[in-house]
Subunit: 262 residues, 6 copies
C-alpha cells in the first residue's frame, strides 16, 4: 500500500489540498480530475457530514490519484473508525485542546497495539486489498487541528504524542478565539509569528504542518515558509466566486468585440 502523501512529505515536498463542502459525487469527481494531491471532505462545516453522503464521494474519486482526507466533525471514535473503514486515508481532527483528547484521537485511528480501532475495514479491504488491516497503522494519516488557545498552550506536549503525523492550523477559529478583531489576517505580524512558531514546534518533532490558506497565493506563501499541507480552495466558495464574476462581467462590460471561450 503506497501512500503518495507520505512519499511527498518524505521528499520534503508540500502537498496541495482542495477543501470539499459540496455534498455531491459529481463535483468531487470534477475536483479530483484537476490534480490536487489531496481532497479533504469537511464533515464539520461542510454539507457532506455523514457516511451516506461521503461514501459516494470517496467512490467517485477513487483511482483519480487524489488522496481522500476527511475533516472530522469532532473527536468521536465511532465516526473516526467509520471514515477509515470507508477508505479515507487522512483525518483532520478539529477543536483539540491538549494531550488527552489528541491521544484519544490517535487511539481511535490505530489498531492494536497502538490503539483500539475496531476491526472491520469493509470498503478499505476492497479498495486497498486484503492486507489493509495489517498495514493500516502505517498507512493512515492523522493531523491535529491547532485552532484553540488551549491547543496552542499545550502544543509541545501534543507534538510528542506517538503516531501523530502533524498539525493543521485553522486560522479563523484560532484568531477568533485568541481575540483578534480581524480574523485570519495573514498580514498581521503578531498572528504570522504564531503561525511560524507552530511550524517550528512541528519541525522540531518531525511533524508536518498544514494550514487552511484559502487562496492559491496564501498557499504558496505558506508552502514557501515550510508548511507541507496547504489548502487553497473551497468548492462552494469557488463556485460562488466564479458565478458572481461571470455575471458581473456580463453586466459590466460594454465591449463586445472579443469573444472568449472555456
Amino acid at each position: 500500500m503506497k501512500n503518495k502523501i507520505k512519499e511527498k512529505w518524505a521528499k520534503g515536498e508540500a502537498v496541495s489540498n482542495a477543501w470539499i463542502s459540496i455534498p455531491n459525487a459529481w463535483t468531487a469527481e470534477i475536483m479530483a480530475s484537476v490534480g490536487y494531491d489531496v481532497m479533504t471532505i469537511d464533515a464539520q462545516h461542510g454539507l457532506a457530514a455523514d457516511l451516506a453522503n461521503i461514501l459516494p464521494m470517496l467512490q467517485a474519486i477513487e483511482g483519480s490519484g487524489t488522496v481522500p482526507f476527511v475533516r472530522l466533525p469532532d473527536n468521536n471514535p465511532a465516526f473516526i473508525m467509520r471514515m477509515l473503514d470507508a477508505g479515507v486515508v487522512g483525518l483532520i481532527c478539529p477543536m483539540l485542546e491538549g494531550v488527552e483528547d489528541t491521544a484519544a484521537f490517535i487511539k481511535a485511528a490505530k489498531y492494536y497495539p497502538k490503539g483500539n480501532r475496531s476491526l472491520g475495514p469493509t470498503r478499505s479491504n476492497v479498495v486497498y486489498g486484503e492486507n489493509y488491516a495489517k498495514e493500516a497503522n502505517d498507512f493512515t494519516i492523522t493531523l491535529a487541528m491547532i485552532e484553540t488557545p488551549e491547543a496552542l498552550k499545550n502544543i509541545r506536549n501534543i507534538a510528542k504524542i506517538p503516531d501523530l503525523d502533524g498539525f493543521y492550523v485553522g486560522p479563523w477559529d484560532l484568531s477568533m478565539s485568541l481575540g483578534y478583531e480581524k480574523l485570519a489576517d495573514f498580514q498581521d505580524p503578531s498572528f504570522l509569528k504564531i503561525l511560524k512558531e507552530i511550524l517550528d514546534v512541528a519541525n522540531e518533532h518531525n511533524l508536518v504542518t498544514g494550514i487552511h490558506a484559502a487562496t492559491p497565493e496564501n498557499a504558496r506563501f505558506f508552502a514557501d515558509m515550510g508548511y507541507k499541507f496547504v489548502t487553497m480552495i473551497n468548492d462552494s466558495s469557488a463556485l460562488k466566486t466564479i458565478a458572481k464574476s461571470t455575471l458581473a462581467n456580463f453586466e459590466g462590460s460594454g465591449k463586445n468585440g472579443e469573444l472568449g471561450a472555456y
Copy 2:
C-alpha cells in the same frame, strides 16, 4: 402570477441565464444566490435528468428570485407535463426539426383549449397558488431549439406556431450538423450570419431569441446584437475552470508577498 422574465422581455431587456448540470440542490442554491434572472437545469446533457434530482433543486431555488427553466431531454409529453407540474416556468426543447414536432411540444405544454396538458399541477399549485391552472397557459414559457439543419430550413414556419415564445440557438450542435469543422465559432462570419438570420426571423414574428453563449463576453455580444436570453456559464465547467486555475496559480507563482482572500 407575475412572470419576471416576460416582464423583462416586454421592456426589451435581455435576461441572463446560468446553465445547470450539477445534480445537486446546494450548488443550485449557490448559483441562485448570485442573481441570474434564469437558471436552466439541463435534463438532456446535464446530470440531473429526472424528477428525483430536479425536484430538490427547484425547491432550493424557490424564492431566490431566479426563475427555473429546464432544457428537456426530448419532446416527450409526459416529461414536459411533469416539469411544469413540479414548478418549472420555462421549457427549452432540443432537436426540433419542424412544424409538427414543435407544435406537439407546445400542445403538451398548454392546457385545453390550446393543448392537451393533463390537469394535476401538484407542486405548482402549492408554489404559485390555487389559481395556477387557470393562468398557466400565459405563465409558462416555451423555447424551441434551433440546432439542426432541418429546423433552420423550417424556421419561418416554426415561428408561426401559436404560443411559442421564442427560439434557443444551440451553436455547437447546429455548427456540427451543418458540417462546420470548428464548432460554435463566433468569429466565423458565415456562422454569425446564420445566427443573425435566426434573430431576424424571430423579431419578425415577435419571438424572443436565446443562445448558448457559454461565456459572459459572448453573452454580452449576443445581448447587444438583440438576443434576449443569453447563457453565460455552465456550473460544472465553471467549477473545473476555477479549480484548475487555482492549482495553476499555486504551482506557478513563486511570488509570496501578496496574500489574497475570497
Copy 3:
C-alpha cells in the same frame, strides 16, 4: 398468487383507493397502515415519477395488505414493464384515445402469447415467488383511463380489447377537455350522465369501473352507483388540508377549556 382486488371484484365489492403523490416511503407506510385496499402511486402528476422513488415505496408497503397500483406517466412500454418487474400489481394508463393505444398498453403489460412483455421480473420474483412469470398475465390488472373526448367516443371498442380489466375515469381532465366550465362537477346532471354511461358500457363488457372521486363522500356516492374502484384521498392534499384546519382551529378558537388529543 392470490389477488385480493380481483377477489373483491369477483364478489361484486368496491375497493377503496388512496392516491399517492408524496415521493416518500414513510408516508406510504403510514397510508398503508390505515387499511385501504389499494394505493396508487401517481407517476404522472405525483412527485414519485421514477423507479428510484417508487421502489422504496413499494418495499415499504409490501406485506401491509394494501395492493400497489401505479398511474403511469404515459403509455411507454419500457416503463410499464419496469413497474411490473418491480412488483406493481395494477396499472392505470392515462390519456388513452382509442383501440390502438389501449391495445398497445395491454400488449406491454402481458407476456407472450398475449403480449410482448419482456421476461425479467427482478423484484416480483422475490416478492411473489418463482412462479410469478407463469401466472403474471392473470395476476396483473390493467385499467384504461377515460379522460379524453376521443376515449369517450371510442369507448365501446376499447371495452372489447382482450385482457383489459376496466376503466378509470379522470373527471377533471375529462370535463376540461369536454369544455365544461366547472371541472369535475358531480352535481351537474349532464356530466353525471356521462359517468353513468361509462359505467354502463363497462358493465356490458364485464369490466370494472374506477373513478377519481377525491373525497370519501364522493367515493361513497360512486360506489353506490356501481363503481368498483374509488379514489377518495390524495396524500399531499390531505396533509395540506389537516395542516390548514389545525392552524385555523388554533387561531380561531378562543375556547380553552376543552383539551383534545390525537
Copy 4:
C-alpha cells in the same frame, strides 16, 4: 438579519409551531405553505435525523416565511454547530438535567466570546448573507427542554444561564419520568400545576416557554395561559389521522346525496 420569532416574542405574542417527523422536502414544503410561524424538524424521534435528510427540508422551506427549528437528538456540540451552519435558526435541546449540560448546549450554539461554536457557516452565509457570523449570537434561538425530574428540580438555576432564550416542555417524557400513570394528562390539576410553575419561573427570568401541546385546542389553551411557543400538529400523526377518518367516512356513511370536494 431580522428574526420574526424574536419580534413576535418582543410583542408578547405566541408563535405557532408544526412538528416535522416526515423525512421529506415536499411534505415540508406543504407544511410551510400553510403559514405556521415555526416548523421544528425532530431530529430526536422524527425520521429526518441527519443533515442528509434535513438539508433539503431546510432548502424547501427557505423563503416561505416559516422559520426552521430543530429538536436536537442530544446535546452533541458537533451536531449543534452543523444545524446552525445549515441555516437552522432555533434549537430545542432534549433531556437536559441541570446547569452544566444546559450551559454546554449554549456554549456550542454561540460564537466566541459567548461560546466556542466553530466558524464555518457554510449555508447560513449564503442564506442570511455575509454578515451572518457577526450577528449569529443574537440571531439564533436556544430552548432547553424541561422533561426530566432533574431539570424540574434545577429549573431556577437553568433559568439563569446567559443566552438561553427559554424552556420547551415535553409533557410526555416529563409525566412519565415523574411517575404519572396517564401521560401528558392536561386535565390533571397536579400536572397542570407543574406546567404553570415552569411558566412562572420562565416569566421571572424573562424567558419564553414552549410546550408540545399536540392539538390546536391544547395549543390555544397553553397560549392563553402564557406559553409563547405552542406545538399543535405532528405531520406523521396528522396524515394518519386524516387517512383513517377518510376511510372511515367512506365505509361508514351510507348517505350519498352530498358530494364534497377538497
Copy 5:
C-alpha cells in the same frame, strides 16, 4: 407484540443471523426472502450507518418474518433510541468494557422506570401498534459485545445487569486485543476455551450468547456448543465470494458439455 426470537430462545433453539453491510433496501429484501431468523444491520463497520440508509432497509424487510437487529456504532443513547423508534427489535452494542457502560446501554434502551429512553416511537407505533411503548421494555432485545480484555475480565458483573438479554462475541476484535497472532482462530484450543467460558457465564445467568461465526460451518459448530445466536454470512463478503468463484469457474473450466442454471 410477539417476539419470535425470544420465543425460539425460550424453547432453547438457536437463531440464525445474517450480517448486513450493504447500504441498500433491495439487497436487504433479497436477504430477508431467504428465511434467516434475524438480520443485523452493522452500523459500526457496515456502510449503512445512519437512519437515512437504515430506515428503507427496515421498511423493506418488514413483514418478511426476519427480525431486524442493529449493531450499534457505539454506546450513544440518542442513536440507540433512534434505532428503536425506527422499528429495530434487537441491539448489539460494541466495545463495552464493564458494568458502567453496559448499564448505560440498557438504560438508554428501556423506558422508565427501567431506563430513560425518551418517548416518541414514531415508526414502531405504526409497525407494532399503539401499544408499542407499553410493551417495549419486554419486546426489545439487548446484547452486549464481548470483544475487549476488559469486558472479559468484568464479564461476571456485566452478566448481572438487569434487562441484559445476552452476550455477543466478536472473535476478531477479541483475539486481536488479547494479542493472538492469528485472529479468530477457532482451531486454537486456548481461544476456544475462552469462547466456552463466555458461554458458561451466560448460561449461569440465564443469558443467551451469540457469536460472529462468519460461515455456516462455524455457525453450526457454535450452535451445537450452545450458542443461541449465530452469524453465518456477511452480505458484502458473500457477494464478492460468489462473484470471484463464478469468474474463476468460467476462466478455469475447459469443460463445456455441462450446462448449469440458477
Copy 6:
C-alpha cells in the same frame, strides 16, 4: 482513448460480463473488484433504471479496469445519449425487430456525420478527456439484442447496418416468443441450432456475438463456441443463491468438526 474490449475482440478473445441489477454503488464496486472485463447495468429489468441510480455506480467502478455497459430500457434516443454522456462505453438495445429500429439505435449513439447524437458529453469529457467527442464514434460499442422472432427473421439485414458492433442474444425472451415451452433450454438441439446460426451470421459480417449465458458453465460453453461476450452472473440472483446455500448449510449439516472461513 484505449478501448480494452475492442482490443480483446481484435485478438479474438471473449470478454467476461457481469450483469448488474442491484441499484447500488457499493455492490457495483465489489463486483468491479473481482475482475470482470465488462459490467452491464440492466436499465430494462434491473432496479437501477435512471441516471440518478446509474451515475454513482459508474463513478464507483471508474478506474477499476472493468468497462461499463448498459442494457437500455428501450430504443429511446434521449436515454441513449444520456448514458453515453455519463461515461457508458457499451450499449445493449433490447427488443429490436429489424433494420429501421436498429439503424435508429445506431444513429442516436453516434455523432455527425454517422448519426445525430447531440453534443454535450458532460461526464465523458472529464473521465475520458477533452478529446472524447472527436473519438467517441470509434470508442463506443453498440450491440443489438436478438430476442424476437422478427429480429431473427431480419438478422442478415440488421447485420449490414454500419457501425453496429454485434449481436447480444436474449435466450429467455427469444425462446419464449418462439413458443418454446422450456425457456432458454441450452440442451435443446433445435434451440442451440438457432444460437449457432446467429453466431454464423455475425461472423460473416465481422460482428461479435454476445449471450446472456447466466452461469459460468454456460458462458464457457458459448465462449468455446465462438461467442465473444458472455454474461455469467447476475448480482441479485447470485446474492440470493449464496444466502440460501449458506442457510441450508447451517441447517442441514450436523457435522461440526470442520471450521471454515471466508
